[in-house]
Amino acid sequence: MKKVVVHPERCVGCMQCMIACATAHSQTKNLFSATLEDPLPRPRVHVGAGLYGEGFPNRCRHCDPAPCMFACLPGAIYRDWETDTVLIDPDKCINCASCAMACPFGVIRYHEDASAPLKKTVAVKCDNCLERQNQGLIPACVEVCKSRALTFEDPSDAMKRKTNEVAQSLSSDTSRIEIAPGFTLLNTIKRTQVELKIEN
């Protein structure tokens, strides 16, 4: 089964995945009309700045076992076994934030949402774009990502590729090969700027 795979070393922090995610979970599915909706659609993937301004698309890992699921008081969080996706039932959610205390990645947010009853604040997180996948589309964050920091593939394929890349980069015969050369340069510059306190 294909899944969203995150490659943090390739993220440039452009936040296009956030816009695409919010749009994909809006009522009208169109960026321009989505900005006029009430409640205003919000992203379920979060690009937080690292200590040196590096980007990282932080999204739900759909853990198994999922700590949020065990912490949920009304039993609103469940696993859809067919798609291996952890979902929140907005009708059952009581907005108690027990899941915020349980999620070790900090990916759950609390707000009104098009999928929830009107004016009800609920816990919201990544749903693997199941609605889009049912229409034959890939998750919105992957579709929009230009730097291939987010890919949609079989995890074992991604694992194999990564193993090869790491093996190559560690090979003593060759000069050290960077896994993502351009991105490493970008992040090194960002880091140096912070360390030397260079203002742009």
Partner: protein, 445 residues
């Protein structure tokens, strides 16, 4: 394999479900005091405040016991454990301590149960004891409300807040009530006060310390909570206790230790809980405040386990043996006990106190050790942002996080929880973790 589980709270349920995952053949008997399908205890306060319907509290269907092929023995309290002969003893006549002189719903259900159970119910078989043999036993009896010492406790409309029945009884008399008195500023007292404020009652709260939730939060957060509640009409009296209640049949007045009196038509006692282990033979099974368990949730007697509010284990943040009587620990301990009972060796890291509370405009999250002893190995960093009404305090023991308090902007609290629980050394500047912009990425160096 014969499994017996005492207690049908969440620890017992989780254990039963986990045992069934690994052992579909063994017989499971669950002995429970409460006769309803399993429900979510922390949510009873939401039923009191009216944000959740009473019938939405259930977390398992009525067919739970049948579906998992469990033999339920409900409405009964265990009277003893025969450790040598591996037997759990119960009294045939259900005895249930209650503050209310008569709890009609409970009586009705007990009567119904006895009819379905084939017991004609004419002569209660007082004193006859029945035994349940076990190979593996789980004690998951939870905790009972800590009693209060005062005269006139037999008057009507004096409640504990621990079970669904308690809240149901409170809701019945709410329409006629105007003035409520809440004893205790801990979590239960605090949630009772909040619920009754939401219902439009005038609420007076008596607390021993200077601010509510003194076990959970530090003084600063405690005062923010107090201000918030006072703004919405809560009256707080500090450093006084109740000596007695007066009234004709129903409670009308409470006399306080400072010789004053308060008029009230309902009282909620929220003085914390005590592990329910009066039936445990302490000469055989080691117990302190709770039943002592090892990292497999097993007591000193092989084959006898304990989990949930009744169990006492190592507290990860405090580094001492401690009872953390909270829902998420009961869930985890129940699962781990179940795995070990079914023969799958699984270790438990230890417990950690934690809580998240949303009241009016305030979100408060807290975990671990929030008021550290004055010791050079502890470091406290804190910040407040008055504009955003955010307060954060982090307690470090050497280079590891040992506790925190967050007021508002609590979404990243789970990351901090995980740092405490997994005892991960913090290598980034501590000040960065106080920023509202703190996120998971910053730990990935």
């Amino acid at each position: 394999m014969k499994y017996v589980i005492i207690g049908n709270g969440v620890a017992g349920i989780q254990a039963a479900e986990t045992i069934r995952q690994f052992d579909s053949e063994g017989s499971i008997t669950m002995i429970g005091d409460e006769t309803f399908p399993p429900y979510c205890r922390p949510m009873i306060s939401l039923a009191l405040e009216g944000s959740v319907d009473q019938d939405k509290l259930h977390i398992r269907s009525a067919g739970f016991y049948d579906d998992l092929n469990i033999r339920p023995v409900l409405g009964k309290r265990v009277t003893g454990i025969d450790v040598d002969n591996k037997k759990v003893l119960i009294q045939e006549k259900s005895a249930r301590p209650s503050l209310q002189a008569s709890s009609t719903i409970m009586d009705l259900i007990c009567k119904l149960l006895s009819i379905f159970g084939g017991d004609p119910g004419t002569e209660p078989r007082r004193g006859s004891e029945t035994g349940f043999e076990f190979d593996k036993l789980l004690i998951a009896t939870g905790a009972d409300p800590r009693p209060v010492k005062a005269t006139g406790l037999n008057l009507k409309n004096i409640f504990y807040m621990r079970t669904e029945v308690h809240v149901r009884q409170m809701l019945e008399i709410l329409p006629g009530a105007k003035n409520a008195l809440v004893l205790g500023g801990g979590l239960v007292g605090f949630k009772a006060a909040y619920g009754l404020l939401c219902r439009g009652l005038h609420v007076t709260m008596l607390i021993r310390s200077d601010y509510p939730l003194s076990m959970q939060v530090d003084e600063k957060a405690g005062r923010m909570i107090l201000d918030q509640l006072s703004e919405h009409g809560l009256e707080v009296k500090v450093g006084v206790e109740v000596t007695g209640f007066e009234g004709i049949k129903k409670v009308e007045r409470a006399n306080l230790s400072d010789k004053t009196a308060i008029a009230c038509d309902m009282v909620v006692v929220g003085k914390g809980v005590l592990p329910a282990l009066s039936f445990v033979p302490r000469d055989k099974i080691q117990a302190d405040l709770g039943i002592l368990v090892d990292q497999h949730m097993e007591t000193n007697i092989p084959g006898i386990f304990a989990a949930g509010d009744v169990a006492q284990s190592v507290d990860i943040a405090r580094k001492i043996s401690w009872v953390n009587a909270i829902w998420p620990e009961a869930v985890e301990q129940g699962r781990i006990a179940g795995m070990n009972m079914a023969g799958r060796q699984t270790a438990y890291k230890g417990s950690l106190s934690r809580n998240v509370i949303r009241i009016f405009d305030l979100d408060v999250m807290t975990a671990g050790l929030v008021n550290p002893p004055s010791d050079p190995s502890y470091e406290v960093v804190s910040s407040d942002n008055l504009r955003l009404n955010i307060y954060r305090k982090l307690v470090f023991r050497n280079d590891k996080l040992a506790g925190f308090v967050m007021v508002n902007a609590i979404e990243q609290g789970g990351i901090l929880m995980s740092l405490i629980k997994n005892e991960i050394p913090v290598k980034i500047p501590k000040a960065a973790m106080l920023e509202p912009s703190f996120n998971y990425n910053q730990l990935m160096m």
